[in-house]
Symmetry: C2
Subunit: 157 residues, 2 copies
Amino acid sequence: MSHYTEHAISILKAQGYRITRPRKLVLELLDTAPTALSAYEIKDALDAAGEKVDTVSVYRILECFDQQGLIHRVLSSGKVKKCLLDDESHCQRQQTEHCHHLLICQQCQGIEEVHCAGVDALVQTLQSQLSFQIKAHHLEFTGLCQRCQTEESEGKD
Amino acid sequence: MSHYTEHAISILKAQGYRITRPRKLVLELLDTAPTALSAYEIKDALDAAGEKVDTVSVYRILECFDQQGLIHRVLSSGKVKKCLLDDESHCQRQQTEHCHHLLICQQCQGIEEVHCAGVDALVQTLQSQLSFQIKAHHLEFTGLCQRCQTEESEGKD
DNA sequence: TTCACTGCAAACCTTTTGCAATTCT
DNA sequence: AGAATTGCAAAAGGTTTGCAGTGAA
């Protein structure tokens, strides 16, 4: 069992959630998914793997995972991706603000998570200039991942 | 007719679009709307004003406006808001990147647009550290607008 | 007059709700 | 055993598609 799945399970247990078969299946799928997935895509992927999980359950499971900070929700698509769980800082981040800086490849839909240091300073500066009280921010970059850049410059077919 | 509506119409005309009654109605509604609106909300608002416009048409109109950079799409809700049309820079912005920094009040759902200077520098710095090629970014802040802050500290009912 | 655009009907996809059956602990 | 969770059925909500009719240029 991967670190992600293992850690997610320990968080769920600590919060009093039950570790059910569908929850484990979704965790394992999210762990290996290279891109973000919608509830439907998760259902289909599990079906394809011969595992029957109802779509409604997927929705409810994702809601639970979201609340526990185990997944990201990509704003631009509504799909979800596993959140890199950083043992020490996970709980604090969850309380103040979830890590929300995503690189989304417009070609292959792959998603990388970045911890972009300057953002906090930027938010503070901006906050000092505004009467609006900032509580959270969401930052998403779209563009081309390394692989798709090289493919674009090579394969002109 | 407001500056926004006027300017939007001139852009549409320049692109060869027809200035129809439904398009004008949607423009005028967006111009005065204090918050972002969904296609359904636009339809309902027009109905309430005694103007019949089909929901399907609203969808198609918004798609057109979006392509022409006349509106913002709020990622976190999918709703749309008029984009401040800045005469000189509108065309360039549209080509490179649309202004996408929004302050969203979680209480009243009001939306303000900010031109947050530091972001461009931040993006450049980030770009220099990544192999990912950034083409656009979306930045949304959630929190409390000035009005809702004071209401929260006063009215404890 | 002509073609873009709208309105209507219907289909489609996504998400939510209620309740009985299941299954973790 | 007991409560949380799932699966099923059904409804509700949002968005898209095709086509005939309308109206802006």
